[in-house]
Symmetry: none
Subunit: 253 residues, 2 copies
C-alpha cells in the first residue's frame, strides 16, 4: 500500500485524512462480503483495503458485490498475519461485540471515529480491524488493537453483516472527517409581514363571503389559520398564489 | 400492521419508539437485498418492514441473507402502492441522492433520524422509504414523503447498496432513540399521509373547477402547493378546516 497522493484541496474535503485510514479484514470467509465491504468503503471515501488470509481472493463474487468499487478491491493488499497488515499504523481499532471483561474501555463507533480521524488528521496511519463473519476477532488479534470498538446495536440481535459493520464505521469516519456543511436551501424570497397580513385580510373576507367563517364566533378560525400559515414561513410567490386562488374561488360566485 | 404493545420499560430502551418506525422498500428487485435489509433493521431494533411491489417475495435468497432476522422478513407486509404502505403515517422520510432542485430542504441521515424519532416518540407512526436499487425513488414516490434524506457520502461514488443504506439509517435511528426523551410538544394530532393526499386531491378538483389550475400546465401549481404545505406538517384538524374551506368556496357556485 503506497501512500496516496494528496491533492491541493484534499484537506477541505477530508480525503487526505480518509486516505490514511486502512480497513483490515481478518480471515474473511465469504468473497461476497469482501466485495460488499469494498463498496461500503468507497461510498464513504475510504479506499485502502487490507486482507489477512482471505479464504478466496480474488473471486468473481467479490467483484460482483463490489459494484463500482472494483478499484478498491483490486488495490487491496493481502497479508499472512495481522501484525504485517498493521505495519506503520499508530492507532488500530478492532471491532468487538460489547463485552465487559476487556482490558480497555470500549469505544462506540462514533467515539472511535473521532479518535481515528484525529490521529489520521495529525498525519498518522490508522487502521480499523474486522474479524471473521462467525467469531469476530480472536483475543490475540484484539490485543494488537489499541481501541476495542463496538457498534451500539439491539442487545437481542447485534449480529451485523461484515460489510454492514464496515459501512457503519466508514460512515462515522466520514461524518467526522468531512465537516458537513448544510446545503444552500433552494428557497424563494420570504413574504413580508404586510404581505402576509394583506393575505390574511383577503382570506377573512373570502371566508366571510363563503359562509365558512362563523359570524357569531369569528375569532376562532382565523387564529387557527394564522397558526398554520405561521409554521410555513410563506414566501412572496406563495402569498401571490394563495391570493390568486381566493380570487379564482370568488369568481365562481 | 397492528400497533405494538408497549412494555413498562419500553421508553427506557427506546423500543416503543422504534416499534413505530416502518421501513418501506419500494420495488426492490433483488431478494438478497430484502433479506439483508431485514437483518440490518433487526440489528438496530427496527422490526416493521413493508414491501411495495417486490419483484420476488418470499424468496430463498432473502431468507439466507436475513440470517437471524427471518422474523422481520416473515412479518413483512406487502403492498401494491406506496400510498397504501404509508397509511396512517404522520411523517415519511424518503432516501434520495443529494440534489438541489427538490422542493424541500434535504436532511442528512442524522438530522432525519432526530425528526423521525421525535415524531415516533410523540406517538405517531413514521416511515423511512427506500427506492429501487438502480434508480431510487421516483418523483411521484418522493412527493409522498415529507422529508428528503441523503446519506452524506463520497461525491465521486455515493452508491450505497440498498441494505447498507437501510443499515446506516436504522443505525442513526437507534442512536437517537435509545437516548431520546419525549419532549412536551404543544401541538395537535398530526395528519396522516392518506389524509393529506385526500386533501390535495380535493384541492386539485376545486382549483380545476375554479379555473385557477391551468389545464394546459397542471403540473406546475400542485407541486408548488405541496411544497408549501409540506413545510407546515399539517395537523388532522387543519386538514379538516382546509377541506371545509374548499367545500364552502364550492357552495358559492
Amino acid at each position: 500500500m503506497v501512500p496516496l497522493r494528496e491533492t491541493a484541496n484534499s484537506n477541505m474535503n477530508g480525503s487526505a485524512t480518509l486516505d490514511r485510514i486502512r480497513v483490515v479484514l481478518v480471515r474473511p470467509s465469504h468473497p461476497g462480503n469482501v466485495g460488499a465491504a469494498a463498496r461500503a468503503m468507497k461510498t464513504m471515501g475510504v479506499s485502502r483495503l487490507a486482507l489477512v488470509q482471505p479464504r478466496a481472493f480474488p473471486h468473481a463474487e467479490a467483484h460482483a458485490r463490489a459494484s463500482g468499487a472494483t478499484d478498491v478491491l483490486e488495490g487491496a493488499s493481502v497479508w499472512k498475519s495481522l501484525p504485517e497488515a498493521l505495519e506503520g499504523v499508530v492507532l488500530a481499532a478492532g471491532l468487538s461485540a460489547r463485552r465487559r471483561e476487556l482490558w480497555l474501555a470500549q469505544r462506540s463507533a462514533r467515539e472511535a471515529a473521532r479518535e481515528l480521524v484525529a490521529a489520521a488528521g495529525g498525519g498518522g496511519e490508522v487502521a480499523l480491524v474486522f474479524g471473521t463473519e462467525t467469531s469476530g476477532l480472536s483475543n490475540d488479534d484484539m490485543r494488537l488493537c489499541h481501541l476495542p470498538v463496538f457498534i451500539p446495536a439491539n442487545p437481542e440481535y447485534s449480529s451485523l453483516n461484515l460489510a454492514a459493520a464496515v459501512q457503519v464505521l466508514c460512515y462515522e469516519l466520514r461524518q467526522v472527517a468531512v465537516e458537513w456543511q448544510p446545503p444552500r436551501v433552494d428557497c424563494g424570497e420570504p413574504a413580508t409581514v404586510d404581505e402576509t397580513e394583506a393575505m390574511f385580510a383577503h382570506l377573512e373576507r373570502s371566508l366571510g363571503a363563503s359562509g365558512f367563517l362563523d359570524p357569531a364566533n369569528p375569532k376562532r378560525l382565523m387564529p387557527r389559520l394564522r397558526r398554520m400559515f405561521g409554521r410555513v414561513r410563506l414566501e412572496r410567490e406563495e402569498v401571490n398564489i394563495l391570493r390568486g386562488m381566493l380570487n379564482a374561488f370568488k369568481k365562481v360566485d
